[in-house]
Assembly symmetry: C2
Amino acid sequence: MSKYHHGDVRNVLLREAETILRKEGPGGLSLRRLARLTGVSEAAPYRHFDGKDGILAAVAIAALKRFGDRLEETAKLALPHEERIIALGAAYVEFAIEHPQHFRLIFGRERPPLDQYPDLRDAADSVFDILQRSVTNLDQRGDMTLADAANAYNRALAAWSRAHGIATLVIDGMISPPLDQPIQQFVFGLLAEDLGIPASLQNPKK
Amino acid sequence: MSKYHHGDVRNVLLREAETILRKEGPGGLSLRRLARLTGVSEAAPYRHFDGKDGILAAVAIAALKRFGDRLEETAKLALPHEERIIALGAAYVEFAIEHPQHFRLIFGRERPPLDQYPDLRDAADSVFDILQRSVTNLDQRGDMTLADAANAYNRALAAWSRAHGIATLVIDGMISPPLDQPIQQFVFGLLAEDLGIPASLQNPKK
DNA sequence: TGCGTATGTTAACATTATTAACATACATAA
DNA sequence: TTATGTATGTTAATAATGTTAACATACGCA
């Protein structure tokens, strides 16, 4: 009977880390507790991951993958372009509300440094690519001028910022979706809110 | 010659905490290091603050005060209502970029729990009040219907979300203001970006 | 069979937040 | 002035953390 060598420690650690993170967030994830819960020695995780950041990076990459898949699904819906932007923003916010800790891990300050984890950077870039392509609708428009492209990029950033702001404010407890209406409706309302930007300040192009 | 009793430890601690936080953020602020730098014993801070969260709360309250003052200044400018909203958003984002750690402390996950520090909650509420009053322009409109009020509240939330999203994405390194144009211009561009929300999704009122 | 590498382990180190137990200065009432 | 209580220090202890070093075992493969 082997005294150790569980055979699958890496995956067990990852799954356990997932459930801890879901409850307590990146800060609450302690390597030693993780090891204890996994039933493995306190130094074992270091054989499979590059320390705490390594584990967080692995979890973040998995989360980004799921996030990206979800956004892509939404982006594929047969919708008018403007409505698709709204739907994307709603999916974005819903993900944040359903998985606040993952969302924080992906975007927040405790995210492992992108330049130390290239896979993490790639995963993050890929999600932004989905957003950008969907919002600017690059696929159907090979004939854009440079100015159009800059414009499209700005529109993507603006849409992203709006969704991101709602998501962040909600999960950080600064605003609370009203209890008497479905969250979807609340998010749609905010995303579609027309701010009445004066023409004098609007982008001169278009 | 007295062996201790510096006379002003609380303020010295606060100022030292400020400079540490500015460089390293809430997570990097260690009570022991703070005490060492202040030239005081490691347990001394506990005589003046309710532990680490207490210090963070005090710093956050001061930061919120400055933040609020700045927003209020902007809100007082003689501008058309819509342009004032843009200016407020810009001031909001500029504060975040100039003081990212303070901004994080105010809004992020490491903020001490609001229900344990009523003064902190009051300070935060007061800032949101400024935003809300300015965006909805409540002062000049005593004649609003209930629906109007709800609408105004939503407009405030939407404007706030947009600015908050830009601020958060920038200080978390997800987007970078272009180097070849002033930050102000970048922020204005994003805030004023017209997303082309379809009429079918716009708020039926108005 | 033997050897190298991957995967475990235990033990140690440095750091952290917090609290208890004790010491000193100061303010104020007698 | 003296006495006493409170505010403000200190040192020392506890419990937890990330990380690394030194050592042990299992497995894959020549």
